[in-house]
Structure formats: structure tokens, C-alpha cells
């Protein structure tokens, strides 16, 4: 049953609850449809899309780490045209917002992606991935410098009327500066964090586990870092923040909301428990009820009150 208290609207994306699924961990939505009705989610973010199809990296692509995992998928995706032809038809029939995650080798790629996808009737928003650590060109490099981050966001902004969400990389000295640059360039929301850059070595073969040496770290291990960055970005910019990184329980989600996230996304958590997003939604309903909160918006960023910073929504 829907529950108004956890309804949230982020820069025009109206969601019946603040729980999304993170890009790259939910395919194009079909894979988890066998487990539950995915229309129960707040929103779906697609796997990262590029203009041309991408084959992705050779295996191995994943490696478990303590309370986390490294991935080196390499943005395998069918390309935007194939996406529109084969995936969009079923996605567009969902009753919940669908957000396309986009990536590019060049600034122009992002612009072209934005234009092409804006023609889709019903697409809710674009999440601009300037933080993928697993590709040769573009990706994370754009998200590690305020100027190039702004350039990409500007190019997307000029190519679309859809809400633009900038997805940031945690592999930076100041996440606040990157967030500020993205917002100045026209981002309507910030989502973070993408994966931390990490690696693993096979001590028998005496070589890196992954062909590209480095890979992206996600899962519960990174949660304290993700939470800190959501906190910092909440204090730096005025647009809504979508928090992710290691969320597996409703308690985790509450931490992110109190830190300043207007919505959260479950990534690696889906792999542990396909039903995690649904359990988190249920948990949030109970928590807001138990706290006597009639609108979850009241909770967003409220932990900042203790440190002298006022909640922006009060």
C-alpha cells in the first residue's frame, strides 16, 4: 500500500518512496522482476549507457573483498540505439520513474546521448556518470576535476530538458568542489558515490586480479565514506542529493537521509538480497511512523542540526 509519508519529489522526479536501485546493479530491470513487482520501487536507474555499444572488460570482472566487492565491468552495454529498441519498450511500461545513466568518452558523446534520450516519451531523468573507474577514456577522469565535470554537465544540460543528475566519483580531495561545479553547470541533483578506486592482487599468479589493474570498490565496506560525502555535499549545494554506497538495510538508508540524502539507491545490496530494496522501503515506513514524522522530507539532513547547520528543508 502506498504511504504518503515517504513520498518524495526530487527535481521533478516524483517517487512514491525514496528507494532507487543503483546503476549497473539492476540491469535494465527485468532480472529482478522474477522476485518482486519492481513497480514497488521509488525509481530505477539503468545500467550505464554509451553512444556506441561497449563489449566491456574481459573476465574476471568481480572480486570479493572484506564486506565489499571490486568490479571491472567496463560499462558493457548495448549502446543507446539498441537500448531504445529493445529495453525502452518494457521500461516505458513501468509505472515508476526510469532514469537513464549515461557515460561517454568525450564531452560531445554526453551531449549526443542527452539529445538522443530526451526524445524518449516518459524518461524521468538523466544520471550523468562522470565517475566510472573502469574505462579507458572519459568516465572517472571527468569527475575528478571541477572544470571538466562542469563541462560535461553543461553539455548534457544543453542537450536536454530532462532533470540532470550528476553522479560523482568519491576519488577526489574535495567532493564539495566537484558538486558545486556540477550544480553551477546546471545539475538539478547530485548522486553519489560511485565506486572507490581499488585493486586486488592474485598472490599465486603474482599479478593484478583485473586486466585493467584497478577496479571499483562498492558495498558495505565503503558506507562510512559514502555517508561522509553525502554529508559534505548536502552542506555545499542546494540541490537534492541521492545517496548510495553500501546500503543494505533500512537503518543504512536512514543514516543517509539524516546526512542529507533526499533519496537513496541500493547497489551491491541487491546481490546480497534481491529483496533488500523492498525491505528498506518497509523499514522506512515504520521508522517514519515510529518517529511521528508525517513527511520524510523533515528527516532529510536533520542530523546536521546538531552541528549548528540548519536543515535546508525547515
Amino acid at each position: 500500500m502506498d504511504n504518503k509519508s515517504i513520498f518524495i519529489n526530487i527535481c521533478g522526479i516524483a517517487m512514491k518512496n525514496p528507494v532507487m536501485v543503483a546503476s549497473g546493479t539492476f540491469g535494465f530491470g527485468q532480472e529482478y522482476a522474477g522476485f518482486y513487482d519492481i513497480n514497488l520501487l521509488g525509481a530505477i536507474v539503468t545500467k550505464g549507457l554509451t553512444f556506441e555499444p561497449k563489449a566491456g572488460n574481459p573476465p574476471p570482472r568481480i572480486c570479493e573483498t572484506p564486506a565489499g566487492m571490486l568490479n571491472s565491468i567496463g560499462l558493457e552495454n548495448p549502446g543507446v540505439e539498441d537500448f531504445i529498441a529493445k529495453e525502452w519498450p518494457h521500461l516505458s511500461r513501468l509505472s515508476i520513474p526510469v532514469i537513464a545513466n549515461i557515460d561517454g568518452d568525450t564531452v560531445d558523446d554526453y551531449h549526443k546521448m542527452a539529445r538522443r534520450l530526451s526524445s524518449l516519451e516518459g524518461l524521468a531523468a538523466l544520471e550523468v556518470n562522470i565517475s566510472c573507474p573502469n574505462v579507458e577514456k572519459g568516465g572517472m577522469a571527468f569527475g575528478q576535476d571541477p572544470e571538466s565535470a562542469a563541462e560535461v554537465i553543461k553539455a548534457v544540460r544543453e542537450g536536454t530538458d530532462l532533470p540532470v543528475i550528476a553522479k560523482l566519483s568519491p576519488n577526489v580531495t574535495s567532493i564539495q568542489k566537484i558538486a558545486e561545479a556540477a550544480v553551477s553547470a546546471g545539475a538539478d541533483a547530485i548522486s553519489l558515490i560511485n565506486t572507490l578506486l581499488g585493486m586486488a592482487i592474485d598472490i599465486n599468479k603474482k599479478r593484478p586480479v583485473f586486466h585493467r589493474t584497478f577496479a571499483g570498490l562498492s558495498g558495505p565496506a565503503v558506507k562510512p565514506v559514502a555517508l561522509r560525502m553525502v554529508w559534505e555535499v548536502y552542506e555545499a549545494v542546494k540541490v537534492p542529493v541521492i545517496g548510495m554506497g553500501g546500503i543494505t538495510t533500512w537503518q543504512d538508508a536512514v543514516e543517509f537521509i539524516l546526512a542529507g540524502a533526499s533519496a537513496v539507491a541500493v547497489g551491491t545490496g541487491n546481490f546480497l538480497d534481491p529483496l533488500a530494496p523492498i525491505k528498506i522501503i518497509e523499514g522506512l515506513k515504520k521508522y517514519t511512523a515510529a518517529q511521528g514524522v508525517r513527511d520524510i522530507g523533515e528527516l532529510i539532513g536533520s542530523a546536521h542540526l546538531f552541528t549548528g547547520v540548519k536543515s535546508r528543508f525547515k
Binding site: 549497473g24 546493479t25 539492476f26 540491469g27 532480472e31 529482478y32 522474477g34 522476485f35 545500467k47 563489449a55 566491456g56 572488460n57 574481459p58 573476465p59 574476471p60 570482472r61 568481480i62 572480486c63 570479493e64 573483498t65 572484506p66 564486506a67 565489499g68 566487492m69 568490479n71 565491468i73 558493457e76 558495498g219 558495505p220 543494505t248 551491491t268 541487491n270 546481490f271 546480497l272 538480497d273 534481491p274 529483496l275
Partner: protein, 298 residues
């Protein structure tokens, strides 16, 4: 299709060979839909480390009893945790996942090649082939195998008919499992061990090769129809030998592949295997069973 994700009660979890366990789960939902070659994805702990689920093939499923059985070898953290589980405890599983072994209607003489723990899914396959052959031959429906480890009389009705041939290899005699069940399913079973402690000393692929060269094995005593399909599961050298022999002999062959998995359902693109036509297939979703010509790098 609706997939199961939840807790199943452990009916049994016993060590059947050094470091090899046989676990019986009560899970009608998975048993109902399970096909041979499919797997379940197991959460080995409630804690956050080890984080990911572990894929384990279904070694037998019994719709009537609502049970699912697995056989696994303890190799690391996850399987060690599994081995520590006790009868009566609950286990968090997802499944049945993936695409299993096809059993085409025209199959006359299937050959199954198994290596070590890879023999596990082949037990379910053997039982299914037998059921399939007997039922398409007009026999009444057979009851499934109640317990794959109760050897000798494991199948409801011992099959007099010749169903197919099995070549299985193990490190040593002590590690052999499933052979009786395979026989009871009507398969001619040729065992080999790496150390020669039982059967032929060598690899099951050696036997397959001889068989393909010489026709029915000398000890078989009767003439079987020509091999028309090969199924294999085991370490990758075994699979690549099977693949090359099968393609030389122009016999369709299906192998079950392994790769580290995260989601187990095709959502993360983590378990890639290079496909013959370029790109990557996902072992969890497009496989784990593939026709050998579909994959390169075998």
C-alpha cells in the same frame, strides 16, 4: 517465471567424502521449477563478510518431496561456513537460476563426462534423462530419487533399459560419489581416478577419447547406439578436451561453466564469458550450461 528467494530448512548436511558435503534442503518452490544444470545462489552467513552469495549446482530436486539437494566441496570461507550448518537450521537461498542442460527429444545415446565435484549436477541430469527417455518411451511416470546418497536402490524403479554412458573421474577412490545412483539410472558407468586407486588410472576424457575412437567400450558387452550428445561438468581442462573431441566428432556437446558471480541473475554483468560471436555472455543467465560452439576460450 517467479523465482524463489528466502529461507529453506536444512534437512541434512553430511560429509560424504573428505571435504565434500551433501546437503538436503526443504524448498518446494525451488524443487518445483528446477531443471538439471541450474543452480541455487546461497548466502553463507548473515554477516557482511563473506559478502557475496555462492553459486552451487542443484544435484537433485524432488518435486514430490519438495527437496533440493546439493553436493559441495569446501574450498574457502563460504563453503566452510556452509559445512558448519546443522540440520534444522535455515539457509538463505535464491533459485533455481540459469539455463541447464537441454535434453532434446531425439537423444538416443547420451554420454556424460564428470570430473570431481563437477559430477554433482550430472546426477540430476542423469535422473532427468532417464525419466525423459522412459516417459517418452511410454513408461509410466517414475518417482524421483529420494536420496542421492542412498546408493543401490536410489531410484524408485531400477531401470533395466540402457540409458547412456558416464565417464567420471575423481582424485582418488575416497572422493568418489554418485556412481551407484548413475548406474541405477540406467547408465553404464566408467570410473577413473587420478591415482588409479579405483577404475582406470587417468582422466575421464581419456576414456571418452578411446570410446569415440573404438566405439562401445570393450567391457560394455553390448553394442550401444552411436553417441548423439555429450554433457560435461568439471575442471576447465576437462571441458576444453571434451569440446575439442566433440567438435572433431561433430557431436553436440554441452558444458557447465564457472566464473565468480555477484548477482547470479544477469543484472551485474560480472560473470562474463567470451562468446563465439564477439561480445560476452553471462554465465549465470545465459548459462551456466553452454553448447561448446557458443563459447570461445574453452
Amino acid at each position: 517465471m517467479s523465482l524463489f528467494c528466502g529461507h529453506a530448512k536444512i534437512k541434512d548436511n553430511i560429509e560424504i567424502a573428505p571435504g565434500i558435503y551433501h546437503m538436503v534442503l526443504n524448498c518446494p518452490e525451488v524443487a518445483e521449477d528446477a531443471a538439471p544444470g541450474q543452480f541455487i545462489h546461497i548466502r553463507c552467513t548473515d554477516a557482511l563478510s563473506p559478502l557475496l552469495r555462492r553459486p552451487i549446482s542443484i544435484a537433485m530436486a524432488d518435486k514430490k518431496e519438495g527437496t533440493v539437494e546439493v553436493i559441495y566441496r569446501v574450498v574457502g570461507q563460504g563453503t566452510r561456513l556452509l559445512a558448519g550448518k546443522k540440520k534444522g537450521q535455515m539457509l538463505d537461498i535464491m533459485g533455481p537460476l540459469g539455463h541447464g542442460f537441454p535434453i532434446p527429444p531425439w537423444v538416443k545415446h547420451p554420454v556424460i563426462v564428470g570430473g570431481g565435484i563437477g559430477t554433482a549436477p550430472l546426477l540430476f541430469l542423469a535422473e532427468s534423462i532417464r525419466e525423459h527417455k522412459l516417459s517418452s518411451a511410454g513408461s509410466p511416470e517414475l518417482s524421483g530419487c529420494e536420496d542421492i546418497m542412498k546408493t543401490g536402490n536410489s531410484c524408485g524403479k531400477p531401470a533395466k533399459e540402457f540409458i547412456g554412458t558416464v565417464f567420471v573421474g575423481f582424485l582418488t577412490e575416497k572422493e568418489i560419489f554418485g556412481a551407484e545412483l548413475l548406474k541405477d539410472c540406467g547408465f553404464k558407468v566408467e570410473i577413473c581416478t587420478d591415482d588409479g586407486s579405483r577404475g582406470y588410472k587417468g582422466f575421464p576424457t581419456d576414456l571418452l577419447e578411446m570410446y569415440l575412437n573404438d566405439g562401445p567400450s570393450p567391457s560394455s558387452g553390448k553394442v550401444s547406439p552411436a553417441i548423439d550428445i555429450i554433457y560435461a561438468c568439471g575442471p576447465s581442462p576437462l571441458l576444453s578436451k571434451v569440446a575439442s573431441m566433440a567438435s572433431r566428432a561433430k557431436i553436440p556437446a554441452y558444458v557447465s561453466l564457472e566464473e565468480r558471480m555477484a548477482c547470479g541473475v544477469g543484472a551485474c554483468l560480472g560473470c562474463a564469458v567470451k562468446s563465439a560471436d564477439g561480445g560476452y555472455m553471462k554465465i549465470c543467465k545465459d548459462g551456466p550450461v553452454f553448447e561448446v560452439s557458443q563459447v570461445t576460450d574453452l
